[in-house]
């Protein structure tokens, strides 16, 4: 199968497949779960076939003309292949995990449909190079998130889901305005044709609104902790692995691959990124709800990825790519551990939990390993990514920012290990056995993956270096 068919399959198999899930649901619960795992697996497996092309570093474009310049363009380069592998793989793990987690929930048809559609539109967004289709997949994901966050359908929860949808929709619509302003200037929506173009400062501000709302950077981030009320698999999918990465990936695609940042923006962005991660880390230290802590932690770590990209030198960008992979794995692990704990103890506040290490050894160990990776302690993968991002910041001459970033890393260390101590160590308040095997297996797998990705960091590094080389126009 040549590259084009693989990519088209990666994008359209999940999207169209997801619509057939309710039909499978009519047959039986088992058939539906099997079918969605199959779909998730296929989406995870297909991009793996493109790794050779990614390492080769080439760029192939699929184009389908439509009216008024709104044509459907897919660009296949190391950038999009790397992102599709990361998100589809973690998405697949989350689907396997949710088999156990969602077994006794009602309207599971809708749940699996939305999750597979979510991953499918994520694939679409990752490959699309036409600004409007990027926006289109962006919004489908927002709709899926809205329905998934409000999954438990309680009035309070649906209010939070509405809030999340409105904030992301507001950001996205403002971003669309920015896209159209660029269209007004350049006359086309095709990103591949506009590489290296300087765009007006106001368009950059508008687009950043969208990026910040989706990747939950500080001014527009409060919807992410509130979305903690969704089922854990959704928060894992949302917070850790996939959703927030879209905003960061879009930044790379738009401002590293595509346009050049005018005026003072290249200096302003790293500051925003660092401030955002500091505030979020502060919030995470104060919070006591288990999932809200992890959500704020995600907002904080996303600040690092933004820092890596906005510093715009090879080390920083390479580190940011690695960060997306490592943080995806580790944070998904943390959330899924939280899922097991909350599923077993039916408590959300970490102060009522304690001493779970004895009854949940594997989950506890996995949580500890994953938090080490998020903090950035060797021999876990997170170390390399955080190290490279901070080295990139120092190399770009922003030593003060690097210092603040390191201070945030210490804050991260504090609140993650405090959470670990409060939940898993100390005397047991609630005796809770470790729940179903599939959930614990996925969590263990994620922890081991974090460790292995640290020990064998050379292989993912090859992919990220290829991605960095291909997108950075300032290198040429």
């Amino acid at each position: 199968m040549n590259i084009e068919t693989i990519t088209l399959l990666t994008v359209f198999v999940p999207i169209i497949g997801s619509l057939t899930i309710p039909l499978a649901g009519l047959i039986s619960g088992k058939a539906r779960s099997a079918w969605s795992v199959l779909l998730g697996g296929a989406t995870a497996f297909l991009p793996m076939l493109l790794i050779p092309t990614a390492l080769g570093g080439g760029e192939t474009i699929i184009r389908k003309e439509f009216v008024l310049g709104l044509d459907f363009i897919l660009v296949i380069d190391p950038l999009s292949i790397f992102m599709s592998i990361v998100s589809s793989f973690i998405g697949f793990l989350i689907i396997v995990y949710s088999l156990g987690y969602m077994r006794r929930e009602e309207n599971q048809n809708e749940y699996y449909l939305l999750v597979v559609l979510f991953i499918g539109s994520m694939m679409g967004l990752v490959y699309s190079a036409n600004l409007i289709f990027l926006y289109l997949f962006w919004e489908i994901i927002a709709v899926c998130c809205w329905r998934l966050i409000g999954f438990y359908r309680l009035k309070e929860y649906v209010k939070k889901a509405d809030k999340a949808f409105l904030i992301t929709f507001f950001g996205a619509v403002v971003m669309l305005l920015g896209f159209i302003q660029i269209y007004g200037q350049t006359g086309t929506f095709d990103l591949t044709a506009m590489r290296g173009a300087i765009i007006p400062g106001s368009a950059v501000l508008l687009i950043l609104f969208g990026l910040f709302s989706k990747s939950a950077t500080v001014p527009l981030h409060t919807w992410l902790p509130d979305a903690g009320i969704a089922p854990t698999t959704v928060t894992a999918l949302l917070h850790a692995a996939v959703l927030v990465k879209i905003g960061v990936y879009a930044y790379a695609r738009l401002f590293l691959y595509g346009f050049r940042l005018p005026g003072a923006w290249p200096d302003a962005l790293p500051i925003i990124a660092v401030v955002s991660s500091l505030i979020a880390a502060g919030a995470a230290t104060i919070e006591t709800d288990f999932k809200r802590i992890l959500a704020y932690s995600t907002v904080s770590q996303i600040g690092y990825i933004f820092l890596g990209f906005s510093v715009a030198n090879t080390t920083g960008v390479n580190g940011a790519w690695l960060f997306i992979l490592m943080h995806g794995l580790a944070k998904a692990g943390l959330f899924l551990c939280a899922g097991i704990v909350i599923h077993a103890t039916h408590k959300r506040d970490i102060r009522d939990m304690g001493g779970l290490m004895k009854t949940m050894p594997v989950t506890g160990a996995a949580f500890l390993l994953c938090s080490f990776s998020v903090i950035g302690i060797p021999p876990f993968g997170g170390f390399f990514s955080k190290f490279m991002v901070i080295m990139g910041t120092v190399q770009s001459g922003r030593i003060a920012l690097a210092a603040v970033a390191l201070f945030t890393a210490i804050l991260t260390m504090y609140y993650l290990l405090r959470t670990f101590a409060l939940v898993f160590m100390g005397e047991a308040k609630v005796a809770a056995p470790e729940k179903s095997f599939s959930m614990v297996f996925v969590v263990g797998l994620l922890a081991v993956l974090s460790l292995v990705s640290g020990l064998l960091v050379a292989w993912p590094a090859k992919l990220t270096t290829a991605a960095t080389a291909s997108i950075s126009w300032w290198l040429r």
Partner: protein, 486 residues
Amino acid sequence: MIFLYIGLPLIVAAVLPLVGKVSKKVLPDVLANGVFLFLFAYAVTGARGLLAGGALHQTFAWFGEPLGIQIAVDGFSLFMLTVVALVSACVGLYSISYMEHYGAKANYYALLLMMVAGMNGLLLVTDLFQIYIFLEVAAVASYALVAFGREQAELEAAFKYLMLSVVASAAVMIAIALLYGLTGSLSFTGVAEGLRQLDAKAAGAIASALFLMGFGLKAALVPFHAWLPDAHPSAPAPISAILSGLLIKVSGVYAMTRIFFHVFGLTPALSDVLMWTGTVSIVVAALLALKQRDMKRMLAYSSISQVGYVVLGIGIGTPLGIAGGLFHLLNHAVAKSLLFLTSGSVQQATGTRNLDEMGGLAKRMPVTSTTSLIGSLSIAGVPPLGGFWSKLLIIMALVQSHRPVLAVIAVLASVLTLWYYLIMQRQAFFGKLNERWAAVKEAPFWMAASTIVLAVLCLVLGLLFSSVVSTWIQPAADVLAQGMGM
């Protein structure tokens, strides 16, 4: 053959009350829906071929000597005919099971056919006075249909609607008289010709102001919108669907566009006024919709807001703007009629329109809630549904014609739109099931079928937007963009 669009509904309407005596329900259903479906089929297939050579004029001979009947169809009116045929077909299907408990189905269908005939007539005429007449035909039929339920609230709303529409028609009549006085002719080309020679600026301004008030009231633009939030909710669901979906567009937007583009010629002043009126309606109506607790009243305000988008789009004047406006007209017609139909199903199932009393109906009424969700998201402009593409074209046109302020307002208003639709979805469908409605059943077959057809249409308009724009919208926009054609 185009005359069929006026003749057929008239004849069948005339026949229906007699048929009503014979078989109360079945025959009127079959007849009426037969007419709608036939008109729709003809519009989609046959009429396309006729248009190959640009606008088609048709005159009639009555036993040899030519009659004074002059009707013409071009890209724009054909597009509107298709929209009318489409929505009326779906509403017709819906009425089969909704109008069961209203009784007097034959009368209902007769009035419905009269309204469709009036609208079709309005679309085909080329003469100012005939516009006025067919305006009245559709209006009278709609007064009766709004008051069809004969409860106190419906009668009062219909009476208020009647009184305001009469004022609108009076304004239109004064304007036509003024133009006739100025140019001595009533046909579009004649008046246009006269106006060009006369260059009577002040008179033209007064006439366009009067037209704008008249058709603005019919189209429920903001200063003149007050009747719509009372009239639509109290009308039976299919009627409020066809009112919101078609009547305010045909008798309001179409007539205004036809006259302003082909008689006056869109001057920059007129375009600014249209755009600002549109924007004001968008914002004010969206804010009003936020506070509503009655489902259909919220939908009515939403109609005002979305018609504001259509007027804004057409007001820009550039081909892209007009295309955006017309595409939004189509999307809104389909989505809003869908929403009114679903609100009808909910009202019939639960007996209430108050959003606070509803809760989590999705569990008991999956089809209605899914279709309602699709309709809401399409109007809110969420891709991949149709509404997104039309709003996109409008905003692109605004940015291209250097009107950033309007573009920003239009964009922010779509967030407001999503906000009140989310409130509606949360209160009505997307929540825990209110125990009062535990025994609620899904809508009957025909009602569910028509909502499904409309929902699929929303999706198709979104996914196949490119072919829809190139085959239907582009020709209509070109007709308008050429200005003084026809």
